[in-house]
């Protein structure tokens, strides 16, 4: 009842004239997002990618500090402590990681038998080297190779593809003919041949991986350059007097950054794989250097009796590869929804 009464009492003074301001319809309600903020919002929704990033950071952290955690050096040989199974203080009571190993088919506490007081978290290899320390040293080497190889691939690929696409004409023709021939050569064959003629080592592996690795990137960058260079904003910039260098760095590269990053994210696991592959067939890193590939190779040789030597590096390499692939997938969805596999 009261409502009705109030309505009746409304007077003309209660009303106010509202003028529509044309500017209001142009106002942007939400704060505008930059390309990267938008990408981050997209990536944040992808749980797999976020978990992978956390896992990856943990592995990188362990690769940096892991070798210093337990006081054993990765290259100290101690034959009295050879072939010890994993033993971790605190959880040994649960029956896992308690230092029990098989000896002539029977379960024995090898630590007790060999009178070892120390703990080797992931066990020791045939030379008595601490596998925990070696694992993270190896991870560090593998990651280093992968990051450097991916960075070199990126630089060469972007430069080659950019030049070829931007200048076009004769330059493009010649450069693309070269690529067409190079792309026919199977990567694996080139990598193996290159590594055979160089001194084995980190440099040789990086050179071998990058020698054909940049081609994929160069083709993508060339296609992108062709797409953007004929667009109006580039024309406008050129009309205003911008030089080639400025157009490339200010207009073309920022537009391609997303695709370049995605592609690099997929080169990294590839490089990790090739390093491990080469070391596994015995032409990669040479002992005593450790990488995930050499550790898996060592572990494979003693798999029958000491499976833990193989298990830990196998887990780390698989986790790394999965993490990089998932982050790559997530980034692709977030940065460039049009692209699919």
């Amino acid at each position: 009842m009261r409502n009705e009464n109030e309505q009746e009492k409304l007077t003309p003074e209660d009303f106010e004239r509202v003028t529509i301001d044309a500017h209001h319809s142009e106002r942007i309600e939400k704060p505008s997002l930059s390309f990267w903020q938008d990408a981050w919002l997209g990536l944040r929704k992808n749980k797999a990618a976020i978990v992978s990033m956390v896992v990856l950071l943990l592995v990188i952290l362990m690769a940096l500090i892991g070798p210093h955690l337990n006081g054993h050096a990765g290259d100290t040989q101690n034959l009295r402590h050879a072939n010890l199974p994993p033993k971790i203080p605190g959880i040994e009571a649960t029956g896992f990681f308690d230092g029990d190993g098989k000896l002539a088919g029977k379960k024995v506490d090898l630590y007790e038998m060999k009178k070892v007081d120390e703990y080797y978290w992931f066990g020791t290899d045939g030379l008595g080297r601490d596998l925990f320390t070696r694992l993270w040293e190896g991870t560090r080497v593998s990651l280093f190779i992968a990051f450097v190889a991916a960075a070199i691939d990126m630089v060469i690929g972007v430069a080659y593809g950019g030049i070829s696409g931007y200048f076009g004409g004769r330059t493009d023709d010649i450069m693309q003919r070269i690529v067409e021939i190079l792309i026919g050569i199977p990567t694996l064959i080139v990598v193996i041949l290159m590594i055979m003629i160089m001194d084995p080592g980190i440099t040789a592996i990086i050179v071998a991986i990058t020698i054909t690795g940049w081609i994929g990137m160069s083709r993508i960058v060339r296609a992108q350059t062709l797409k953007y260079k004929s667009q109006e904003f580039v024309l406008a910039s050129r009309t205003l007097g911008a030089k080639d260098g400025k157009i490339i760095t200010k207009h073309l590269l920022p537009n391609m950054l997303g695709i370049i990053i995605i592609n690099t994210m997929f080169t990294i696991p590839n490089a990790i794989f090739f390093e491990a592959f080469l070391s596994f067939i015995g032409i990669g890193l040479q002992p005593p250097a450790a990488s995930l590939g050499t550790l898996i190779n060592d572990g494979y040789k003693v798999m029958e009796n000491q499976p833990y030597v193989l298990l830990f590096p196998a887990i780390v390499i698989s986790v790394l590869m999965i993490a990089f692939n998932l982050i790559g997938d997530g980034l692709r969805d977030a940065l460039d929804p049009k692209m699919k596999d």
Partner: protein, 310 residues
């Protein structure tokens, strides 16, 4: 089309000649000699051995002879296996490699396609996540890690299948084929899933549903066939992956195949065999990529081959 094929064949030959040339000269710079206990021989003996294998002549002459023989299809003589020709050596080893490769390819793609379809038809359910996870595992875990684990658990712990070698009929081929199949399986599952999801949202599927076609019919008769076409594009990378995988997987399971021969030739510096295997692998991959490009144009005429993927 004819012009395009002609151009591609010319490129293929250039690539092969380039690979042959490059591998020949790379072999010359290799450290170490292919002749066992070379350092123990005196000069006369060295001269005899070098003459026998034709490596006493100057390099350009050796190169010319090698290329001439190559044109006739002769890959040269192995240094390690006393006077055996590389052709014979590889011919004998071709069968196990082909069997493994074919089994892995067929098993991997069929299971991959089924998994991919399952994931697409049950989009955003447990089945979808499960098969996507499996595909990620297959793409991520290196074949040699997977092969070692299979060998450890199935062969040496549970004694279900032979640990290695090629002497137990089909049983010997199961584990290596499985290890090789993970790549094709994962790739095709991922690919088919993406394609199917897109196809299932298209108008003609809605029409088929409206017409009253049942789920099975829609999945296989309408959606699957259209999702299959783009799968051909990944055949190239698949074949490359199989070759890479065969190198380690054959070594792990001690299969007397081409890949195992390649790795052991590298270890023994057997130049002629390394070059022969390199050429074989390269020719195989180049031909596969060529066929894929042509097939793609034939099956889906909307794709203009001449502007193709090069």
């Amino acid at each position: 089309m004819v012009k395009y094929i002609g151009k591609r064949i010319v490129y293929m030959f250039i690539t092969l000649i380039l690979i042959a040339t490059a591998s020949f000269f790379l072999m010359q710079t290799l450290p170490g000699s292919p002749i066992a206990s070379y350092n123990k021989l005196n000069d006369t003996q060295k001269a005899i051995v070098e003459k026998k294998y034709g490596i006493d002549k100057p390099k350009p002459v050796q190169y010319a002879i090698y290329m001439k023989n190559l044109a006739k299809g002769d890959l040269g003589t192995s240094f390690v296996f006393k006077g055996k020709s590389v052709n014979d050596l590889l011919a004998k080893r071709l069968k196990p490699s082909l069997i493994l490769g074919a089994q892995a390819m067929v098993f991997g793609t069929i299971v991959g396609i089924l998994l991919g379809m399952l994931a697409a038809l049950k989009h955003n359910t447990f089945w979808d996540y499960g098969s996507t996870f499996l595909a990620i595992l297959g793409i991520s875990i290196p074949s040699f890690v997977f092969a070692s684990l299979l060998q450890y658990w199935i062969a040496s712990e549970w004694h279900l299948l032979p640990v290695g070698l090629w002497n137990d009929g089909w049983k010997s081929s199961v584990l290596p084929s499985l290890a090789l199949a993970m790549g094709p399986l994962a790739l095709s599952a991922r690919f088919i899933r993406t394609e199917m999801i897109e196809v299932l949202n298209s108008d003609y599927i809605v029409l088929a549903k409206a017409k009253g076609a049942n789920g099975f019919e829609i999945a296989f008769k309408h959606a699957f066939r259209n999702a299959l076409i783009p799968l051909i594009t990944v055949l190239g990378p698949l074949a490359a992956g199989l070759v890479t995988g065969s190198l380690v997987v054959e070594q792990i399971f001690a299969i007397p195949g081409i890949g195992e021969q390649f790795v052991s030739s590298i270890m023994t510096n057997d130049h002629a065999t390394i070059m022969g295997t390199t050429l074989m692998f390269s020719a195989f991959l180049i031909v596969v990529i060529f066929i894929v490009d042509i097939l793609y144009g034939v099956i889906d005429p909307r794709i203009r081959v001449s502007g193709g993927k090069g």
